[in-house]
């Protein structure tokens, strides 16, 4: 489930992260030179559908903060529970999903928020998550549900509670948006 890209050969659990002041991505341009006309109602429709199915059949341990969604469909707050028998047993975490109007062609921006941010080698103390499906391995066939499942799996397979080694530096220098970070996915053991 958790498919992280292995990029560097060394297995040192050191996630090197280069925060680059990336220019805002130019929108996909069709051959005629005009920016693509993205149908607004279409991504909203899909979000509605996902919300319905998430409320109807939520993945284990996940609940949607319906109030937050009702206020703004493009920002969802989800509560996720640490599973029994894992290091996070009994803990509650909050996830924030931000969708832009290119969803589902562009990945949502997913961060942990709130007081309790899981101590995990792939989660920075500001809530940013190092997970390949949130950036380069994103696919429009993925959904909020599958992202939740991935994160739950990432938490569950953790063996040792610790922050990423470069946490202090990254948190000081990173952009607010985790998608602006150029992530190196190299450790697929957790």
């Amino acid at each position: 489930m958790l498919k992280l890209f292995k990029k560097s050969k060394d297995k040192i659990p050191k996630s090197e992260i280069i925060t680059e002041p990336k220019e805002p991505k130019t929108p996909p341009v069709s051959k005629c030179g005009k920016p693509l006309q993205l149908d607004n109602s279409r991504w909203e429709r899909r979000l509605h559908k996902e919300l319905m199915s998430l409320i109807k059949e939520p993945p284990p341990g996940v609940t949607v903060d319906t109030e937050s969604v009702q206020q703004n469909l493009s920002e969802w707050k989800l509560n996720i529970k640490g599973f029994e028998g894992t290091l996070y047993d009994g803990e509650d975490f909050q996830l924030l999903f931000k969708f832009n109007n290119k969803y589902p062609f562009d990945s949502p921006e997913v961060t942990f928020i709130g007081n309790n941010i899981p101590v995990h080698p792939h989660v920075y103390s500001n809530g940013h998550i190092c997970l390949s499906i949130l950036t380069e391995d994103w696919s429009p066939a993925l959904s909020v549900q599958s992202v939740c499942l991935s994160i739950a799996s990432m938490l569950s397979s953790c063996r040792e509670k610790k922050r990423p080694p470069d946490n202090a530096l990254y948190v000081k220098t990173c952009n607010k948006n985790p998608k602006k970070t150029k992530w190196w996915y190299h450790d697929d053991s957790v």
Binding site: S30, Q37, R42, F105, S139, P140, A141
Partner: protein, 280 residues
């Protein structure tokens, strides 16, 4: 030890009944088998309930009613083969007739829910993997995944360098998808030909009219120069109508080579002149 006795007693009414129905011995054998089954059932029930008499009478009624239908059908038949058949059909029939009312009752109870769910699951089979709606202008990839063509097309445009199936990450491309046409689809045109962000036609400038004088160099590069006072030189070089330039000689002929050396000579001459103008 009570139970087998009870079973034996129970066997009696049914066996006597089948005997009275005047069919041959195989019939009674099968009946016995049936009854044994019933009796087993009864005995288990008896054990459960611990109220022998009541349970027996109830079950007896049930058993006799099934044997009724059985003997009736077997009488209509006649020979053994028919009997065996009718035995099968009888039991087969009795099952659905027993279960059908229950099923229909269940259906009636949950008409709204079950039918909705069914419809929903049927529909979701044909949902686009990207917009999650029922696929419109449907195409299916070689790996078997269904999409609306507009959705897939947009995904292909989003990552032109990595054209992967959103579901299974197999290679996918415009030429590697198959359009799907339903029976009553109004237009049977290829959905790949009509896409919302339709690629614009390519308009190329027409070839320049031949007849421009000057020195050709290669195929595309032409240059000309003239000597004279500015306006007249301009006029002579740009407004040079009249005799069109003869077509270039074929490659390999001596004339072609002559022309090449000549054009190179003039080019060097031109550079020389320019250099002289600059440095002098």
């Amino acid at each position: 030890m009570e139970m087998p006795q009870l079973a034996a007693i129970l066997e009696q009414p049914n066996s006597t009944y089948s005997g009275s129905s005047n069919v041959n011995s195989t019939d009674t054998v099968t009946e016995h088998l049936n009854n044994e089954k019933h009796n087993e059932h009864i005995t288990t029930q008896l054990r459960q309930f611990g109220r022998p008499t009541l349970a027996v009478s109830e079950e007896e009624g049930a058993a006799s009613s099934t044997s009724y239908s059985f003997t009736g059908s077997s009488l209509a038949g006649g020979n053994i083969a028919d009997l065996n058949k009718s035995d099968d059909s009888g039991t087969a029939q009795s099952v659905p007739t027993d279960s059908e009312p229950g099923l229909s009752a269940d259906k009636k109870d949950t008409t709204g829910n079950s039918s909705n769910d069914k419809e929903h699951s049927d529909e979701s089979l044909y949902e686009c993997n990207i917009c999650l709606d029922t696929a419109k202008d449907a195409v299916v990839s070689m790996c078997g995944h269904l999409f609306c063509w507009p959705c897939l097309h947009q995904w292909l445009l989003t990552r032109p360098s990595r054209k992967l199936c959103p579901v299974c990450k197999a290679a996918v491309d415009k030429d590697k998808v198959i359009p799907l046409y339903g029976r009553n689809s109004t237009r049977q045109e290829d959905p790949r030909n009509k896409v919302p962000p339709r690629p614009a036609g390519h308009r190329t400038e027409p070839e320049p009219v031949p007849g421009f004088p000057g020195f050709g160099f290669g195929d595309g590069f032409h240059m000309s120069f003239g000597i004279g006072a500015f306006p007249f030189g301009f006029i002579t070089s740009s407004l040079n109508f009249g005799e069109p330039r003869p077509p270039a000689a074929n490659r390999g002929t001596t004339q072609y080579e002559d022309e090449q050396t000549l054009s190179k000579l003039f080019l060097y001459l031109a550079f020389l002149c320019i250099g002289w103008l600059l440095f002098a």
